[in-house]
Symmetry: C2
Amino acid sequence: MVHRFTAIAALHDRDLAALDAAGRMARHVAQRREIVAEGTKLQQPLLLLDGWACRTRLLADGRRQILQFVLPGEVIGNFGTSALTTLAPVLALTPIAVCPAPAPGAGMTGLAEAYAVSRDLEERYLLRQITRLGRMNAYERMVDWLCETDERLNLSGLRDGAPMTVPLTQEIIADALGLTNVHVNRTLAALRRDKLVQVEGKTITLLDRNACRAMVRTRGF
Amino acid sequence: MVHRFTAIAALHDRDLAALDAAGRMARHVAQRREIVAEGTKLQQPLLLLDGWACRTRLLADGRRQILQFVLPGEVIGNFGTSALTTLAPVLALTPIAVCPAPAPGAGMTGLAEAYAVSRDLEERYLLRQITRLGRMNAYERMVDWLCETDERLNLSGLRDGAPMTVPLTQEIIADALGLTNVHVNRTLAALRRDKLVQVEGKTITLLDRNACRAMVRTRGF
DNA sequence: CGTTCCTTTGAACATAGTCAATAAACGTGG
DNA sequence: CCACGTTTATTGACTATGTTCAAAGGAACG
């Protein structure tokens, strides 16, 4: 779990000790259960030790939008927010383990930096999600999302280069990409046909990472 | 300008003095110019004293997504970010006036609170934008965006109840809502036909705010 | 080993995009 | 203040992309 934090900030002994202590307070949440219930205030940020989660929003008629995914090693919530309630419930997409995120106390500048970077990355992912939904077609959305997921899993360590394990149904991917499950299925088929990805069960391999990245490149960023 | 800050936090003398001093350091930026250039680091957050701005992202082939609007009284950027560069350039949609956002020094708890709330609101708007683009059709997107803009302009004061002045072209609205300018035009026509809005030049009146809100209501939020 | 959830595929349909032409509004220089 | 050029808004006809509805085949799980 610590891998992602060491990758984004220079952690020192006190930072590592705090993370280690927090990791021993793990809480488990079953698949499909809310980690942070709708309308409740998150007392403290959480670290996602294992499993995948997401933040969702529902429209009145049942349409669902997945706002963002939370991958293993990433942070749920932020220090220093003012919100009385969370802005969206956080849902366990797989069985997950979380622990309270240790507050960055005195001498824990590494932790503080890691939280700041995490927050910036989160905003970056949100902006990318907006661009994906607003200006990309289904094919590009899928490619862009796979690239992002690839990068994020790499940042959390444990799989550099290896195929990704994506424990999601096509319906969940659809709710994240603003499509229907049927169209996600067809788009994945097109990606396979074009030899861009290989899918085996819940395992996805990017066969041509450069081509994928080139397809969804933004100007300047 | 101070109106929005007093609406979201309890400001005291020192907060107000700092804001007042900052307001005298206004800088002007012409329409279509970058307030925060692509790839540059924002040294300090800015207060948008007057005019409309937006954060944009461009795809390689020229497609543009407006990530968010920044309305008069709102904040550009945040304290405590770690990013080496801004995540997206900020563009002046009208002639604008900005000033540096005063850092919340000792005894300025009101200012600190106002920045925290502003940041939360910004995230709220981003999540709403994601839901809009991912799960609403053109008609709903327009209604939802008008409702949000209405609320945000109200929060900044100066117009409660009065028609909104929206100094944007239909092409800019299109880039924000993930549509084409042609379809924005048709959607606005439909809204007029349905007596939901009235458009007179750059002035838009929500004729039935309750109906509009009901149409785009989310579950729980 | 049956049930349920998930994936896959087809056919018909709906929504939004594209291309093109015209009209209206705006800005600028004379 | 008017004439001109440019930008923006409006409309129509056609096309493309993605949705809906439905059914069937597979995989996962008690």
